[in-house]
């Protein structure tokens, strides 16, 4: 609902189109460039990446370039694709169809500790499914 009217913000559109520059958030599957993650963090998983410190290492840990397929969702709440991918309640933007990598244990624990329970999508679930 609240995202219905939110257009994809400019920061969420991947600035690079070449596939090897893109990274997917390992929590929600949002796809942006590495630098976008560093500067703006993940727009869904707030608190996952602290944008106040440009922590590139952190970005490298919680995002991955190992993902397959790409979906750009313009109106998540209206889109069946978004629903199927379970991103209908997330911000409009590019999402991976499947993320091939799972968060390392320590990050999972850390998120749990912080209570940063952020929505898992079908894309990121896939990572756990096939591991």
């Amino acid at each position: 609902m609240k995202y219905k009217q939110t257009a994809p913000s400019e920061n969420i559109i991947p600035q690079e189109v070449s596939a090897n520059k893109l990274r997917a958030c390992m929590v929600c599957g949002l796809v942006k460039t590495f630098n976008q993650f560093v500067v703006f963090g993940c727009d869904n998983c707030l608190g996952l990446i602290d944008v106040r410190v440009a922590d590139r290492e952190r970005v490298a840990t919680v995002t991955t370039s190992l993902f397959s397929g790409l979906v750009s969702v313009t109106r998540p709440l209206d889109s069946w694709v978004a629903k199927w991918q379970r991103v209908s309640r997330l911000v409009p933007g590019c999402y991976a169809i499947a993320v091939r990598a799972a968060l390392p244990e320590d990050i999972l624990e850390e998120l749990e500790e912080k209570g940063l329970e952020v929505p898992r999508t079908r894309a990121t679930a896939a990572a756990y499914e096939y591991n």
């Binding site: 257009a7 994809p8 397929g69 979906v71 199927w84 091939r100 096939y130």
Partner: protein, 1030 residues
């Protein structure tokens, strides 16, 4: 209480509350903003409590029940005040109270309608929410953060919430399972938008999807949003993307203007296929430590590699593989950065050896700790090496995994070889060791398992010893007697009891076996045709000591057969013979010498010094190198048969004769080379050819050098110099090829550049032509071409400088006959002095000269000069005499006269000095001086005849003691010398020996033979002689 139930319950109550709240809010909307602060504060408190509760829930469900009442209260309060955006959902939920979980689609649809009305409110809520959240972020309190995140994402629809909690509690598997079932609920319905397939430029699918999002954003900004919901680029589908929209028209609008999409190809996807579009193909990672992969790109394309390090989620993998390093090339690159020879050629696989690299490339290889892994590697040109293998990070996109890899025995054997070489070096770090051990184990395992695979196409030959590996007769050994059919062989058992009968086996039941000491022959693989003795057996791997190479090779049993053949020392194959220089079809630029011939393969020693085994078919042609030439370090041509010495590089100090020339390389026969038929390959410019020996002689003889240099510069053409040049040319003539001039004497000389842009630089001549020389500068890393006349040899450079200002002065002395002998004695120092050696210089030295001339040959005198070289310089610069000498005495003979007179009479220099401005007087004086004591007669009146006793100060008149005893004064111009006769006592009045006295031994025409007082005999012009009293 079951968690799910509990949540449903809560939801329920919330919803009723919310419904109420919404109505209330509609009324309150005006005062909403003013209440905000208060609300958020309250919310905080409430939530904190709620969270505490939640935590407790997980631990204790009884407690939870007790507290249920209070929680309900909190929840409802919270919803009422804060969760504005949840309202709609709540409202909808109210409609189908109990079934919300199953009917997700419907809810969504309902929502769409409702949302339109709530648009303004939602936006406001969203803005507020975000603002508040940012505030929280800044406050850096995890508790608060958590609350906010929860607030934002907590109120997801039931199934998701549930999943999340389950995930945090239970094992992940369970979560996944549940998920799979729930996914069913999301299947598309007729109300959902449709998917349209659109053709796309191949490889640009993801780009298209991103562009569509960008386009949507731009149109949204303009206020005319596009009517599509998503765009999909599945990984496995090339050349297509899907666009989600209600109508094809919307799709057309969306893709309009995007050149990478083709609107004509629009196609609607049936609803039942929609899910397939988003199917996730399980992609089990086949990359594991120690596993085998193949590189698919770059230099190592097709090469087998072993996974050394791989972490889940990374796109790069560290593999280890056999390096393909072309050390020669690396070295050349270092030396001349410009030209890269043969870029496309792939160097052969070769294990990395630190010593070898250091030797060839020259740079040292140090062990270094890797920046990321902390492991220690030998780093060479930014690549990590250890134990002969290259450790390389490659993208997983560039490797092939799975069954396609199929490592062959020979490939594995390379790794094993590296392992064996490394076995003695232990790694100090435990984790490294562990990793290496893993590598080793997998390698061994691979070698073993491989065996079983290879067995299937085991090449049996008649006569092979075999052992039965399966069936009733297991472990029976025998010998193959005959090949029955494709798959059957007849075996005669070794067992004496069974000896009589042939037993048939299928090939699968048999395995070759060898005993130590058996003579075997390789029937396939790299070593095909080689024979040797079995010296070790481990499983299916046989160590064979080769007859030909005297090396141990590990071969698989399938590669071997028993033989009685001894060696395979074939010396010819087809039209090619051992030690032929050949080129290849596959690599026409390669040059190699055949050093070993196997059945249908030949091993070449190529120009990189590496061995290359090629099929005979690949050998293109034999090269006749008889006339080929390569230039050695002195730019002298080398030919087949020349004896040369290697002066730099790996083979430094080795000597041998040239077998083949493949410019810029030469193949040399070296006595002490054990491999490759005694051949080594070296760059020609690292060699010193036979003529260079003489070259050194010349370099070591500065005199000659000097003479030649000066002769070219000043055209000084003394006899002696001519002789020298002749000498030089005879030295060279034997060895210098056509077109090479003596000019090359300058080559390798240190020279100074006298003029031009590089004036003052010192360097070494690298090559020379008649007109110019190439000089490698010492101070600047540069080689420049300068005019030949602009360089002088460095060791004469200082003299050269001094010579410059005096250059004009050489003319008078030039014709001095006296100089020729002086040359030889004076050596290198003479040259410059020549040019200062005119009158004025002589004058101060008169006493020395005098005595010297009379007693001893000139050499001592000249020697005495040598240390005075600086002094000479003084004369040239400070003494006015120099001017005098230059300007006044152009008729040289008269100058000599003066000098002679000064010597004899000890006339003061002043005399000359005073009369410098009168050439005629000066001339008379010098003549008059020279004539003293000589017998003269009147030119017309022969009776006036007498000895010269003196002269007037101006030299115009001579005082004669006439023969009649009287004396008189006569004008000099009227008098002439009386030509002396044989055996007369004479005095030299002109020329080099002016002033000397002696006896005329004989006279023939103009020439007279004179014996001086010191016994020396000279031939002088009679006109220069005056008769004196005996």
């Amino acid at each position: 209480m079951d968690k799910r139930k509990r949540d449903t319950l809560i939801e329920h109550e919330e919803q009723t509350e919310l419904k109420r709240q919404k109505n209330q809010q509609d009324g309150e909307r005006g005062s909403e903003t003013s209440q905000d602060d208060e609300q958020s504060e309250e919310r905080q408190d409430e939530e904190e409590k709620e969270y505490d509760d939640d935590d407790d829930d997980d631990e204790d469900s009884i407690e939870e029940e007790e507290e249920e009442e209070s929680r309900k209260e909190y929840q409802s309060k919270k919803k009422r005040k804060s969760s504005r955006f949840i309202e709609l959902e709540a409202e909808v939920d109210e409609e189908d109270d109990e079934e919300e979980a199953e009917e997700g689609d419907e809810i969504e649809r309902e929502l769409i309608d409702d949302e339109e009305t709530e648009e303004v409110e939602d936006t406001m809520a969203s803005v507020q929410q975000r603002k508040a959240l940012l505030d929280r972020m800044r406050s850096e309190n995890p508790e608060e953060l958590r609350r906010f995140v929860r607030e934002r994402y907590g109120e997801v629809d039931e199934e998701e919430e549930e999943e999340e909690e389950e995930e945090s509690q239970g094992p992940q598997k369970e979560y996944i399972k549940d998920r799979g079932i729930e996914q069913q609920g999301l299947l598309p319905t007729v109300q959902d938008p449709k998917l349209f397939l659109v053709k796309c430029r191949i490889g640009r699918e993801k780009e298209a999807v991103i562009c569509l999002l960008q386009k949507y954003y731009e149109y949204y900004q303009k206020g005319t949003p596009l009517d599509f919901f998503s765009a999909v680029a599945p990984e496995h589908l090339r050349g297509y993307v899907y666009i989600e929209a209600y109508t094809a028209d919307s799709v057309r609008k969306a893709i309009d203007g995007l050149r990478i999409l083709f609107p004509n190809t629009l196609k609607l996807i049936p609803i039942e296929e929609m899910v397939d579009v988003l199917s996730i193909v399980p992609e089990t990672s086949q990359i594991e430590r120690g596993g085998w992969v193949r590189i698919s790109r770059g230099t190592y394309a097709g090469d087998l590699a072993q996974v050394y390090d791989f972490r889940e989620g990374e796109t790069n993998v560290t593999v280890r593989l056999i390096p393909r390093l072309d050390l020669q090339e690396v070295r050349n690159e270092d030396e001349t950065d410009k030209k890269r020879l043969s870029i496309n050629r792939r160097p052969p696989q070769k294990l990395f050896k630190r010593e070898e690299v250091e030797q060839i490339v020259g740079s040292e290889v140090f062990p270094r700790r890797d920046r990321y892994t902390g492991e220690v590697f030998d780093v060479f040109r930014n690549e990590n090496y250890r134990d002969g293998l290259l450790y390389k990070r490659v993208s997983i996109r560039n490797i092939v995994t799975g069954d396609e890899v199929a490592p062959t025995f020979e490939e594995l054997e390379m790794f094993h070889k590296a392992q064996r070489l490394a076995s003695h070096t232990k790694h100090d770090e435990d984790n490294t060791q562990e990793l290496e051990d893993t590598m080793e184990k997998t390698l061994e395992l691979s070698l073993e398992t491989l065996s079983s695979d290879v067995e299937k196409n085991m090449n049996f030959c008649v006569g092979d010893s075999v052992i039965v590996v399966s069936g009733d007769l297991k472990n029976l050994s025998g010998r193959i007697e005959a090949m029955e059919s494709d798959n059957m062989v007849a075996v005669r058992p070794d067992d004496p009891e069974l000896k009589g009968e042939l037993i048939q086996f299928s090939k699968e039941e048999l395995k070759k076996y060898f005993r130590e000491g058996t003579h075997v022959k390789a029937i396939n693989g790299r070593h095909t045709g080689e024979t040797g003795m079995v010296v070790g057996i481990s499983g299916d791997i046989i160590t064979v000591f080769s007859d030909v190479t005297n090396e141990e090779v590990r071969l698989h049993i399938s590669q071997l057969t028993e033989t009685t053949e001894e060696g395979s020392s074939k010396s010819a194959i087809g039209s090619f013979e051992l030690l032929d220089l050949v080129t290849l079809h596959s690599d026409p630029r390669a040059r190699g010498v055949i050093v070993r011939i196997q059945r249908d393969h030949a091993t070449l020693l190529d120009t990189n010094g590496a061995n290359r085994t090629v099929p005979v078919k690949d050998i293109r042609s034999k090269l006749d190198g008889k006339r080929a030439q390569a230039l050695d370090m002195n730019q002298k041509p080398l030919q087949v048969g020349d004896m040369v010495k290697v002066v730099q590089g790996v083979h430094k100090n080795r000597e041998g004769s040239i077998r083949h020339v493949a410019s810029p390389f030469v193949f040399m026969n070296v006595k002490d080379e054990p491999q490759n038929c005694g051949l080594i390959v070296v760059r020609a410019h690292n060699c010193q050819g036979p003529h260079s020996v003489h070259g050194n002689y010349i370099v070591g003889a500065p005199n000659n050098m000097k003479g030649a240099t000066l002769s070219s510069m000043f055209s000084l053409g003394g006899n002696r110099i001519k002789t020298d040049s002749k000498l030089n040319s005879t030295v060279y003539s034997g060895n210098i090829g056509k077109g090479h001039k003596e000019d090359d004497k300058l080559v390798r000389q240190d020279v100074l550049i006298k003029s031009g842009p590089w004036k003052g630089y010192i360097g070494k001549v690298v090559s020379a032509t008649t007109a110019s020389v190439r000089v490698e500068l010492d101070s600047v890393c540069k080689t420049v071409t300068v005019d030949r006349s602009r360089v002088v040899p460095k060791d004469t450079a200082h003299l050269e400088k001094q010579k410059q200002p005096l250059q004009g002065a050489y003319t008078p002395s030039y014709e001095m006959g006296s100089q020729t002998p002086a040359y030889s004695g004076m050596g290198s120092m003479a040259t410059p002095l020549h040019h200062v050696g005119y009158t004025p210089v002589y004058a101060p030295f008169t006493p020395t000269l005098d005595s010297g001339r009379r007693d001893v040959p000139r050499t001592p005198i000249h020697n005495a000069w040598r240390p005075t070289t600086p002094g000479a310089a003084d004369y040239s610069t400070g003494n006015k005499w120099s001017d005098l000498g230059l300007s006044m005495y152009s008729p040289f003979a008269s100058q000599e006269t003066v000098m002679g007179a000064s010597k004899v009479t000890q006339t003061e220099n002043k005399t000359i000095d005073e009369s410098v401005d009168d050439t005629k007087v000066d001339h008379s004086v010098s003549v008059a001086k020279a004539w003293i004591d000589a017998l003269v007669q009147h030119k017309t009146n022969a009776t006036v005849r007498g000895y010269v006793g003196g002269h007037s100060p101006d030299g115009m008149f001579l005082q004669l003691e006439l023969e009649d005893g009287s004396s008189g004064s006569y004008a000099l111009s009227d008098m002439q010398l009386v030509t002396p006769d044989k055996s007369d006592t004479i005095k030299v009045v002109d020329g080099e020996y002016m002033g000397m006295k002696g006896q005329l031994l004989n006279a023939e025409g103009d020439e007279g033979i004179v014996q001086f007082e010191d016994g020396e005999i000279k031939i002088l012009p009679v006109s220069n002689l005056g008769k004196i009293r005996g």
